[in-house]
Symmetry: D2
Subunit: 344 residues, 4 copies
């Protein structure tokens, strides 16, 4: 299986290289970059000295599947002609995630360049959408925050046990900002500091609402989502809060038991989601494709506290993209994704 990567020099593009390198069925055939076109990948990233890949401005040769780490709009523009040529595509960018074109325009400040492909794109969260992904030629890989938030909340929303008022307080490592070179991401600015951002609204909010909404079409969800930047390179921890519906799970210890049972059933057999016995650390998923979910109940207020963690560049980007590729091509879902977390 020949793979192309658009914008390989993005952190998520590089992470695709790292993962696909150990994938037994995939061969990285062509990689693109703009300012680095013409260079060897190893010239720009010396730690990739063992790879013999040259960055080109456009994809070269024939490929079976393309991953795109391009920014909004640019991604759809490059993917559309490839689809027409019969290439399957996983967009790590945001272009095919939102079904509502108006919402897309509101958050990404641009008209969608290829609206005709939006409807058919499968939202690439295998745990909720496995069959649709397997049948798709175009997969919209979820955002990093939505992956963490949706996996933390899906069992509760699906089971109808929580009120529609939901808070998602998410903390992310800095690699989520990509190689955005500005003062605020300098080491000296980030180190020993933690802050909220995008308080007025973050692009990942409509994605979270859209996908959770599909799980319970009767609920009118009111989600508040606040992202934070933490002084670490990788990892997202999402802490989610919602009132439990007492008529659904009772209260106190009974509610807690019921909630755990609902989560355990929901994720039973999932290769990449673990329902943990104790609150997870982001380090527990460093470098691998796992999502650890910890559901608990604040018995004083009968509130669900659902915590999840992922590596934003793996399950939150490149790893999930490969998981989607595996599904799209009928391969074992975990092919190339079996790594344990890097600890400590």
């Amino acid at each position: 299986m020949k793979v192309g990567i658009l914008a390989v020099t993005a952190y998520s593009g590089l992470e695709l290289v790292r993962i696909l390198r150990r994938h037994p069925q995939a061969e990285i055939a062509s990689v693109t970059g703009r300012s680095t076109a013409g260079k060897k990948l190893s010239e720009v990233f010396p730690h990739l000295a063992s790879l013999d890949l040259t960055i080109t401005e456009d994809l070269t040769g024939s490929i079976d599947v393309v991953f795109s780490a391009l920014p909004a709009a640019a991604s759809a523009e490059k993917i559309a002609p490839l689809l027409r040529d019969g290439v399957k595509a996983v967009d790590i960018g945001a272009d095919f995630r939102l079904k509502d074109l108006e919402e897309y325009r509101r958050w990404y400040k641009v008209d969608h360049p290829c609206p005709e492909y939006v409807e058919e794109a499968a939202y690439g969260l295998p745990e909720l959408n496995r069959h649709e992904i397997a049948a798709a030629r175009l997969v919209a890989n979820p955002g990093c925050y939505p992956t963490a938030a949706i996996l933390a909340l899906a069992p509760a929303v699906k089971a109808g046990i929580i009120e529609p008022d939901i808070i998602v307080d998410a903390k992310s490592g800095v690699s989520g900002a990509g190689q955005n070179i500005s003062r605020e991401y300098l080491y000296s600015e980030v180190n020993e500091s933690l802050r909220a951002y995008a308080v007025e609204g973050h692009r990942h909010l409509p994605e979270i609402t859209q996908e959770l909404g599909r799980l319970d079409t009767t609920a009118d969800l009111a989600v508040t989502f606040l992202p934070h930047l933490a002084p670490m390179t990788r990892g997202i921890l999402a802490s989610c809060y919602a009132r439990l519906r007492e008529d659904a799970v009772g209260s106190g210890a009974a509610a807690e038991a019921a909630v755990r049972e609902i989560y355990s059933s929901f994720y039973k057999g999932e290769p990449f989601v673990t329902v943990a016995q104790s609150p997870p650390s982001t380090k527990h998923t460093l470098g691998n494709n796992n999502c650890v979910v910890y559901p608990a109940v604040d018995t004083r207020t009968n509130r669900l506290i659902a915590i999840s963690c992922i590596d934003n560049l793996v399950k939150g980007a490149a790893g999930q993209a490969v998981q989607n590729m595996n599904l799209m091509f009928g391969l074992p879902e975990g092919e190339g994704l079996g790594e344990l977390a890097l600890y400590p």
Copy 2:
């Protein structure tokens, strides 16, 4: 003014030394420690080479005021006889914070050793309690999380503009755990990791509820408080969420303006609280006694988002303790506390 410090080798004890060293009216007269008794302070902490202080097991000589960084129960036991001798006291520990002795026993797993002093102790949050502190001989210095959470929420609770359902999602640097020497606080375990803890309930919850409750005795607050450990040494960022009462502040931009006005008025003239124009970073308060509060409205859900940050060892411990001492002795409130943040 001669000062004694109980448990000087605790991080908050050392921070007291750092602050009092530059206080023009205070002289550190006696410092205690258990396992280090008999040693020079500079032997144990070489960066204090310029100080000539010997650690003793008990306070020596005559003092005017004592600060205690001892653990629960031990603190009250040491403070009580000093009070009887006419020494004023600021307890950085938790012994005199909770007015309900039953709550104290529930959270600290011990009977209060000196219940007779609990009632008279002033809760040492000057922004809410300045006069009571000035008149007190015993001040209960607030916990680090309560300081951040209460200052973030007080204006809204006092003004009655939020529903009683409150979420406090707080992130703390590791020095909050003190010199607790266990595997979970090793560098290799904390670095590149973020986690929630005390999901089943944290000792600072009753303190937050008690003090916010005093601001609006008609409300029956239901606070969920979830602390997180972040990979940094100092700093607390508290993100607080509550529904706005539409009858109180309206909605949308009007609500946002009303909320900002309420916060600005509330903290007008406060020397150590700033109402910020943009979301603050914990680095903005690194090493100083400030609390930065940022109130915002999620206009999609009409929810208050109130963010605050402090240095957990300064405004969250030793700095606030000195602020309280200044009030207790009629000194200018900011004496010794004028430092700018260490940036970057």
Copy 3:
């Protein structure tokens, strides 16, 4: 191939698990621990939830090869009887590294418990010692610092181009201290701090001298080795300095070219050593078995500057141990060790 791991809960033991898990020919059959014996490995380390291994006090069942991460003396004591039973062994500890028993006693403050095996043990640095390792039943896995220092200096010493006065200034991440639970390794103590330690002499010095000495038996090396602790979890960077012998390589640009040629030839074809074109970062080897070496010449003083970096837990411990196992069992040397570095 059934593998046993002594002291699996040490960081290097856990790293063995991570690496062997993806090794196609190895099966982790038995793992030991002292204080955790009886528990599931996943109970103690939740990120290993996907493994079904129980920690026992002693090895159970039959194994083909044992790795030991036990401390000095304890390691040899456990390994000796296994050798007698025909089990091959890789000691990640220090017991079989030093050929001079007197030196061993001087640095490890204990009489060697099994001196009879010292002579036959192969020093497990494949780049210098491949054939001996392949023939051995007992391999002494090099220390992390010696791995970095020897690989940085070996080509120069072997070629006889430097004076015998050598400085090795090495900087290590904190995981090198293992799970040593003491105040000095707490996050709050290590973060934002860098320090030298063991200035009076470090146990890895005699190992460096012994192995470099074997490369040029005519030289009487005078090595000064100073280790430093840097605020990071993994990684060693060794900066090595020695005067070039002008009669050997000339001076200026000619010397630089000659030195680069000597290094490139020396490591030609080596699967895990790269001679870099620019100064490497420890991040270039994060999580993988590579050593990057950068030789340069300070043309002002005609001094060799040889810089190397490794991941102290991989090439500096568990990865090299697996590389040694591969050699001992006639497997491809890189089996299970093909990972790219985790970047960023």
Copy 4:
């Protein structure tokens, strides 16, 4: 005393603000910046909300002393006319450090814009040059690395106890690179990484050689200086190595005692240099103007190991600049500089 700061938005400029704010005799009267001219300082740096300073393109009003944090050449150009107007100046930049104009041109790639002032400029290392500084109207504030390296080596060079072959292996926090916004200084690139840089030669080398050379004009020093970037914001640790002259101090324990005595005498009474009893951590000087020096002897090779640490932005820049200003104006040398280190 009215103070002007050129390039206040540089990290060293901001650090001047932090220090001068608590200086009883200094008033910050005017601050300049290029891209931020016209803005309030607190707009650009919210943690400075308590200051009412507006950034202007050029200095305004009358001032007594100017500090410049401008880059090479630009600094001299701005300082020269001020000198002519009778303003005293401390150049935190490099323009007046090197006495040899050819050397200046070689390292800074520019002709010196005001060679006529080079000779009279005092090199602002008070421990070596106190009287010259006190008499000067123009002080060249030393570079951060030279400050650490020279203070580590000065007693040994002055006493003539070491051979002229010297290695300085220095490790610096990232703030040393200023607000240089490029990929290599992004948090994700620096975190968990350590690297050497400027292997081919660093601008601070001629400065180190020039000043050490003045201490022993008979020696022909051959200094190799290798700087490293460590994952921390502040701090420099310099590890310096040189052979001891056996005829000067003997060997073994006697040499060690002699060396310690030489260092203790040399720095006797110095307010900002401590000769430590144990190897220092950079954290011991975090945020303050101290330099901690630890001299030791590798008795196996009779080599001096002299370790020093400073905060690169304080003793390595702004703090030392204020120390120089105090000397130039006849104030107590430590005015405004009495802070203890921020610990932990």
